[in-house]
C-alpha cells in the first residue's frame, strides 16, 4: 500500500486508513459548518425574506433528490457488505446503481439551477438585486451551499467509479476493502449534508 521511495516499508493498517478518513470527514463537516453559520445568521436577520424566498424552490424536486441520495447511500452501504461476503457481481451492481442515482441527482440539479438562472436569479443579477436584501442572501446561500454540495457529488461519483474499476479488476476484494469502505463513508457524508440542506432551503416556508 505504501511504498517508500527509499525503502520498501510494507505496512498495511486498515484501521489507520479509516481513522484518517473520519478525520477528513470532520474537516468537510466544518467546511460546510462555516456556511451553516452564515445561513443561520442571515436567516435570523431576515426571517420573512427567507421564508418567502424558500417558497420559490420546488419542494417536489427537492424531495425527489432527497430520496435519490438516501437510496444511493443504502446501495453503497450494501456494497461494503457484499464485498466482505465476497460477492463481486452484487458489489459491482450496487456500485452501478449508486452511480446512476448520483447522475440522476445531478441532472435534476442541472434543471433546477437552469430554471432559476433562466428566470434571471443568479448571484449579482439585476433581477436578484431588485429583490429584497434577504432574497439576495437566500439565493446567494442557495447557490453557494448546493453548489459546494454538487461539487462533492461529482467528486464522489469519480471516487465510486474508481472503486468500481478496482472491484472489477480484483484489487479490492473480500480481504482488502478499506478503500471501498472509506468511499462509502465519503458518500454518506454527502448524504448527511443534504439531509440538512433539504429542509433548510426547501421546507422551512
Amino acid at each position: 500500500m505504501e511504498q517508500h521511495s527509499g525503502h520498501a516499508l510494507v505496512h498495511r493498517d486498515d484501521e489507520a486508513s479509516k481513522i484518517g478518513m473520519w478525520l477528513f470527514i470532520f474537516t468537510e463537516l466544518l467546511l460546510f459548518g462555516g456556511l451553516f453559520v452564515v445561513y443561520a445568521v442571515y436567516r435570523h436577520l431576515n426571517p420573512v425574506a427567507f421564508h418567502l424566498a424558500a417558497e420559490e424552490l420546488d419542494v417536489t424536486v427537492g424531495t425527489i433528490n432527497t430520496v435519490i441520495l438516501l437510496v444511493s447511500s443504502m446501495t453503497i452501504a450494501m456494497a461494503t457488505s457484499s464485498i466482505k461476503l465476497g460477492n463481486k457481481r452484487l458489489t459491482l451492481l450496487l456500485l452501478s446503481i449508486t452511480m446512476i442515482l448520483a447522475i440522476i441527482f445531478m441532472v435534476n440539479k442541472y434543471f433546477e439551477w437552469g430554471g432559476k438562472i433562466s428566470h434571471g436569479i443568479y448571484p449579482n443579477s439585476q433581477t436578484l438585486l431588485d429583490l429584497s436584501q434577504g432574497d439576495v442572501l437566500f439565493f446567494g446561500l442557495y447557490y453557494a451551499m448546493t453548489g459546494l454540495h454538487a461539487l462533492h457529488i461529482i467528486v464522489g461519483l469519480v471516487i465510486i467509479a474508481v472503486m468500481f474499476f478496482k472491484v472489477w479488476n480484483g484489487s479490492i476484494n473480500n480481504d482488502y476493502n478499506v478503500q471501498l469502505e472509506n468511499s462509502g463513508l465519503y458518500w454518506h457524508l454527502v448524504d448527511l449534508i443534504w439531509i440538512f440542506l433539504f429542509p433548510l432551503f426547501y421546507l422551512i416556508t
Binding site: E2, L30, V38
Partner: protein
C-alpha cells in the same frame, strides 16, 4: 549498519532524492529550508517597516508601499512561517522517532502536503508580481475592503486557502500516527510532551482550518461573483466575516504556540536533569488550551460592534484560557527548582522563552479586559503584544528547538560561543524593538500607518535600532548554524543526556530510525 538518512541513495538523484522523498526526516528538512527562507524574507520586510518608522513622514517608502509591505509581512509570517513552523519542521522530523515509529502513518500524503505548501506559497507570493499591484488589505483580508480594493487580493486569498490544505493534511497525518504507531509499551501517558502538543495542535488544524477555508472561498465568490455575503449594500454583514475569520485565526495562534510549548517542555527537563514537574498537568493544559482556545475568537473584535452579551462572554473565555497557559509556566519553573542545571544554548532560549512569553501573556490580559481593550485597540500595543506571543513564543521556541535537536538532525555540533553570542544579541535587540511599542501604544500611536506624530519619535528610534540589532543577531545565529551543519564537530548520539527516544538512535538517525522497534517500559522523563 544502515546508512543515515542524509546519505542514503534512493532511486532518485540529487535534489530529486529530497523533493520526492517520503522519508519524514527529509520532509522535515524540506519544510525547514522553505520556512527558513520565508522567515528571512518576512524578517527583512519587518526591518523595512521599522526603517520607515525611524522618523516621521516618508523615510524610505510611500504609504501605499508600506501597506503592501505589512500585508506581505503578515501573510508570509503567519501562513508560511509560524503555522507550519514547529509542527511541520520538528513535528515531521521528530514525531515518529519520539514515539518509536519508522515513519508517519501516511508517508506519501506527508510529501503531498509539502508540495501543497510550496504551491500555496508560490500562489500567495505571485500576488506581488502580477495583476494590479500587491494586496494592501493586511493579512486578515477584512471585508468589505478586501473585495473593493483594486489591488491583487485574489491570488493571496487562494494561496492562503491552499496552504490550509497542507496544514490539514499534516494534522490528519499526525493524529493517525499517534493513534496507531506508538511503540509497544508507550501508553498515551508515556508519550513525551512534544508529541502531545502536536496532538492538540493537529486537532485545531483539523477543526479550525476548514472554517477559514470556506471563508476565504466566500471572499473569492464576493470578488468574482458579487455574491453579497459580506457586502452591506446587499444585506451582508462584514462583522460576520470577522467572526468566521477569527474562528480559525485565533485557534491558529494556538497552532503556533502549542508545539512551541511542547519544545520548551522537552528542553527544560533535559538541561535540568530532572523529570518534568506535573507531566499530566502539562498534557491536560495542552488539551484545555486547544479546546477553550477555539471559543475565544471574539476578543479580536471588541470594538467591531458586537452585542454586549458577546463581549462579556468572549472576555470571560479569554481570561479562562490564561489558566492552562499559567499552569504550564508554573510547571516549567517548578521543573527548574532544585535542579542541577546544565547551562547550554537551548536552555538560554528556553528560559528567555518563558520570560517573553509571560510579558506577552500578561499584556494579553490587558487586551482581553474590555475596558482597557477599547483604549489600546489597533495601537502599537497590540502589535507589541502579539509579537511577544507569536515571535517571542514561536521564534524563541523554534531557535531553542533547532539548537537542541541540531546534533540529532545533522550529526554535527554547532559553535557554542557564536550560538550564545547570537542569542544575547537577538535577545537585547528583540526587547529594544518590541518593548517601546507597548509604551507607544499606550500613549496612542496607531498601528498600520507609515507615519506618526512627532511626539512619538524618541521610542520609535529605539525600536528601529532594536530591529537592526535583532536582525544582526539573527544573521549570526543563522550563519553559525549553516556553517556548523557542514563543518561542525561530529556529535554523539546523546550529547545532552536526554531521555526521550530520539536520543537512543544514532546522530543523524538511520533511514528507518530504529533497527528494531523499541519497547517502552518507562515514563518519558526519567534521568539516572
Amino acid at each position: 549498519m544502515e546508512p543515515n538518512y542524509l546519505e542514503y541513495k534512493g532511486k532518485y538523484k540529487g535534489i530529486f532524492a529530497w523533493i520526492f522523498s517520503t522519508d519524514h526526516k527529509r520532509i522535515g528538512l524540506l519544510y525547514l529550508y522553505a520556512v527558513g527562507a520565508f522567515f528571512c524574507v518576512g524578517a527583512l520586510l519587518g526591518l523595512l517597516m521599522k526603517l520607515e518608522l525611524i522618523a516621521p513622514d516618508k523615510t524610505i517608502m510611500e504609504a501605499q508601499v508600506y501597506n503592501s509591505v505589512f500585508t506581505l509581512h503578515g501573510i508570509t509570517m503567519i501562513f508560511l512561517v509560524v503555522i507550519p513552523g514547529l509542527p511541520a519542521v520538528f513535528g515531521n522530523f521528530l514525531l515518529p522517532i519520539m514515539i518509536g515509529a519508522k515513519d508517519v502513518a501516511f508517508p506519501k500524503l506527508n510529501l503531498l502536503s509539502w508540495w501543497v505548501y510550496v504551491f500555496g506559497a508560490l500562489l500567495a507570493l505571485s500576488s506581488q508580481f502580477m495583476g494590479s499591484g500587491p494586496p494592501d488589505t493586511g493579512w486578515t483580508f477584512y471585508a468589505p475592503y478586501s473585495f473593493q480594493t483594486q489591488s491583487n487580493v485574489l491570488p493571496a486569498v487562494m494561496g492562503a486557502f491552499v496552504l490550509g490544505f497542507s496544514s490539514i493534511l499534516t494534522g490528519l497525518n499526525f493524529i493517525v500516527t499517534m493513534h496507531r504507531m506508538r511503540a509497544p509499551g508507550m501508553g498515551w501517558f508515556r508519550m513525551p510532551l512534544f508529541p502531545w502538543t502536536l496532538y492538540a495542535t493537529a486537532w485545531i488544524q483539523l477543526l479550525a482550518t476548514p472554517i477559514v477555508g470556506i471563508t476565504l472561498l466566500m471572499i473569492v465568490a464576493e470578488r468574482t461573483l458579487g455574491i453579497g455575503f459580506f457586502d452591506p449594500a446587499k444585506g451582508g454583514d462584514p462583522i460576520l466575516y470577522q467572526h468566521l475569520f477569527w474562528i480559525y485565526s485565533h485557534p491558529a495562534v494556538y497552532i503556533m504556540i502549542l508545539p512551541a510549548m511542547g519544545a520548551i517542555s522537552e528542553i527544560l527537563p533535559t538541561f535540568s536533569k530532572k523529570p518534568i514537574f506535573g507531566y499530566k498537568a502539562l498534557v491536560f493544559s495542552s488539551l484545555a488550551i486547544a479546546l477553550v482556545g477555539y471559543f475565544v475568537w471574539g476578543h479580536h473584535m471588541f470594538t467591531a460592534g458586537m452585542s454586549g452579551t458577546a463581549l462579556y462572554a468572549f472576555s470571560f473565555l479569554t481570561f479562562l484560557v490564561a489558566i492552562p497557559s499559567a499552569i504550564k509556566v508554573f510547571n516549567w519553573v517548578s521543573t527548574l527548582y532544585k535542579a542541577s542545571i546544565d547551562m547550554q544554548t537551548p536552555f538560554y532560549w528556553a528560559t528567555s522563552f518563558i520570560f517573553v512569553f509571560m510579558i506577552g501573556g500578561f499584556s494579553g490580559l490587558v487586551l482581553g479586559a474590555l475596558a482597557t481593550n477599547v483604549h489600546v485597540h489597533d495601537t502599537a500595543f497590540v502589535v507589541a503584544h502579539f509579537h511577544f506571543i507569536v515571535f517571542g513564543g514561536v521564534g524563541y521556541a523554534f531557535f531553542g528547538a533547532i539548537h537542541y535537536w541540531f546534533p540529532k538532525i545533522w550529526g554535527r555540533m554547532y559553535d557554542v560561543k557564536w550560538a550564545n553570542f547570537g542569542w544575547l544579541t537577538f535577545f537585547i535587540g528583540y526587547l529594544a524593538l518590541y518593548g517601546p511599542m507597548f509604551y507607544l501604544g499606550l500613549v496612542g500611536m496607531p498601528r498600520r500607518y507609515f507615519d506618526y506624530l512627532p511626539e512619538y519619535h524618541g521610542p520609535n528610534i529605539l525600536s528601529s535600532l532594536g530591529a537592526i540589532v535583532m536582525i544582526g543577531g539573527l544573521a549570526i545565529i543563522i550563519t553559525n548554524l549553516i556553517i556548523s551543519s557542514r563543518r561542525g564537530e561530529t556529535a554523539k548520539a546523546n550529547p545532552w543526556g536526554g531521555s526521550t527516544l530520539e536520543w537512543t538512535v544514532p546522530s543523524p538517525p538511520p533511514l528507518e530510525n530504529f533497527e528494531e522497534i523499541p519497547v517502552v517500559d518507562k515514563n518519558p522523563y526519567e534521568y539516572k
